[in-house]
Symmetry: none
Subunit: 418 residues, 2 copies
């Protein structure tokens, strides 16, 4: 596998003003093409720092990709540094990019100013890939300190837009190995317990296969299995074999084979089976509805929800009996069940899910902070479950909501498998 | 100003599966404390690469901060590399972190597995700052190749949660120049328009003062004014003078003096004036309720909400008349008003806010994607407003919700100033 380094140039990233998303887009595309990213570096708009970093990275990577520093303003100095590094004797105007600059300015109804035209100038040692989305050309410097350097603009949609041409150029000039990746989505088990559970399987993986754990409070743990050698067809067969063993170990803790979220997985279940759903939320305060509706097309199965923060709303809107609340407390199995049944009745949905708990900062007389009761209701009855998390309000809201989605998933699947 | 390097360790970033947000959070906090970030580096879970990179960065920066690679699984090797680099003779169990691990597991109702307990082991040359939010301890290695190394967990809320302790330790051990920062929160104006509006004021700022624009779809634009020289007392007086000029220019576009969010600002208004609020959401799908309830103590003023995704829920739960929907369409001023009035009636709140619009991916026959109608209702009547955004579902949901909160803020303040 050939190695690459992604180098982001610009002060705005170093002071935290901008989160660098270009690098991860580039990494996904390159990894899929069979290029291994060995490091990402962010540096400021400083001549000596840029020159030193690029020289160093070019000498140890086959490819270095820079983003940023190509704009028309005074603090953008990358092009000048590249002219020096490449030993260019001067600048030449690139006709294709100049034409593109002309088009872009005409579209915006602007005249061409000298600093717009200067954007089409490139060091004479550079090859140019015309930037179809902006004024700064994409430059390629081959055989520079032992590597190839691609200079991309920093504006996110221009950098992302340059990826297909970049990958095409790399394919044309490098012999790439094929890497195979697959994801399995897991919910309802802690990372440490998961690691222990699958240790025998993981330890027996062949040398060229690698498993990564990617935990996220809203999606559980994404397990990514990668194969770094062999032919494409044979890779798929080996992958399939290992994954089927892994899935057998994990059982219904696996909620999706491939990249997905709980709300997308649930959405598929509802859509496929022509079912509708609603939610009644207390402690999750709208997060479950937000997750459901973050999926495009969710209006086909998500009817709506009630956030019943006040007891009066639980009673008057959801119809939770006042004596149930009095007898069992707001955070109870009985109230979770009554909320789920209430919103199901109110919206007429096939299924519903409800949460009542204490996200924090404090608990109440009966329950510690981090307690949640989840209820799920459907045509065959109602079930509830209790979970206990910790004292981090933001985190608890996410965990409560994700746990509720997973509980509902198991509840609906059990019905469908009746 | 002392220099620092932030080093992110983990394959998941290099293959682009995860966007590194920790570095920008760290950068903002360190910059505010008077530490200059000179580079950010991301490397994989590879022993030699980690060792070489850390040695290099420690030799040229006063501080190196790593995030990631401290988990309990086999691919997390940072701790081992740090033990080697620091010349530790072995590992010692840190009682404080072990206690925290015990608490976390007990709270979740989990048994302590050997790999949980192993999390409390640290190289004997490490100082420990107990991680209050997770099982992996924060480690400090002083005088390591000429610098100080802080090893933070990679899980975002743990990394961000570690920032106050990190900054405190840096302050205790380094002579930092005092930099004075103040934030002003602005909503309802684009960055370019804002920049144009305040250009005369900004251009007249003294040499040692700097203004940064930190835009965020949910909170608007945070304007951060910094003073890089002088004595603390004198800095505050100069800051006050400049900010009062800035606030006079911006008027009610400023929603908070100091770091805040729209939902926190609204919460303060409701609490101070003993008012309650509710929400009816269509296109924002629970995001407004989620924002309200993300504020601790919001149960004092937020009564609840209805997410009315289906028309039947708009009619049957919120009581929006069917003929209003038929006549004006679901995305209309009339429906936004009826939704706001409906949820206010249903919950008995003093104020309410409602949204109906098209977040995407597509528009309908009457409205392009990105259209939203917002309604606000209160004791003195109802008002609506229409906004038009672009074609990005996730972004639109955030922008719709934030715009609704800001519209409600102006609506309530106008009532209070009657």
């Amino acid at each position: 596998m050939i190695n690459a380094c992604i180098c982001t140039i610009g002060d705005e990233i170093l002071i935290g003003q901008v989160v660098d998303t270009n690098s991860s887009h580039l990494a996904v595309a390159l990894e899929e093409a069979g290029v291994r990213i060995t490091r990402m570096v962010s540096i400021g708009d400083e001549r000596e720092e840029i020159a030193q970093t690029l020289r160093k990275e070019l000498s140890r990577s086959t490819i270095v990709i820079t983003t940023g520093g190509l704009g028309p303003t005074k603090d953008d100095i990358t092009k000048g540094v590249l002219a020096e590094l490449s030993g260019s004797k001067g600048y030449v105007e690139h006709a294709g990019q100049l034409e593109m600059i002309r088009k872009i300015l005409a579209f915006r109804g602007l005249d061409m100013l000298p600093n717009n035209r200067a954007q089409a100038l490139v060091p004479d040692k550079a090859e140019v890939i015309v930037n179809q989305l902006g004024t700064a050309p994409i430059m390629v410097f081959r055989n520079l300190f032992g590597g190839t350097l691609y200079a991309l603009p920093g504006v996110p949609h221009e950098a992302v837009g340059a990826i297909p041409a970049l990958v095409e150029d790399i394919r044309a000039h490098q012999a790439l190995t094929h890497i195979c990746h697959r994801n399995i989505m897991v919910y309802g088990i802690a990372e440490s317990a998961l690691s222990q559970l699958i240790a025998p399987w993981e330890d027996a993986l062949p040398e060229d296969m690698h498993l990564a754990y990617l935990p996220n409070p809203l999606t559980g743990i994404r397990l990514r299995l990668s194969i770094y050698s062999g032919e494409e067809g044979e890779q798929h067969a080996r992958m399939e074999k290992q994954l089927s063993q892994l899935k057998a170990i994990l059982g219904d803790k696996v909620y999706a084979d491939g990249d997905s979220t709980l709300e997308e997985t649930l959405g598929e279940i509802f859509k496929t089976n022509n079912l509708t759903v609603s939610a009644a939320e207390s402690c999750t305060g709208g997060e479950i509805a937000h997750l459901f509706t973050s999926v495009p097309g969710s209006s086909n199965y998500f009817l709506g929800s009630v956030t019943s923060y006040a007891i009066s709303v639980k009673e008057n809107v959801l119809g939770v009996p006042a004596d149930v609340i009095r007898e069992h407390g707001v955070v109870s199995s009985e109230v979770a069940a009554a909320m789920a049944e209430g919103v199901r009745r109110l919206t007429g949905s096939d299924y519903s899910v409800a949460t009542t708990g204490l996200a924090g900062p404090s608990g109440d007389e009966n329950n510690p902070v981090g307690t949640v009761w989840i209820g799920a209701a459907g045509p065959h009855g109602t079930q509830t479950v209790r979970y206990q998390f910790r004292n981090d309000r933001k985190r608890n809201i996410e965990r409560f909501a994700a746990s509720a989605l997973d509980f509902l998933r198991r509840f609906v699947l059990a019905d469908l498998n009746r």
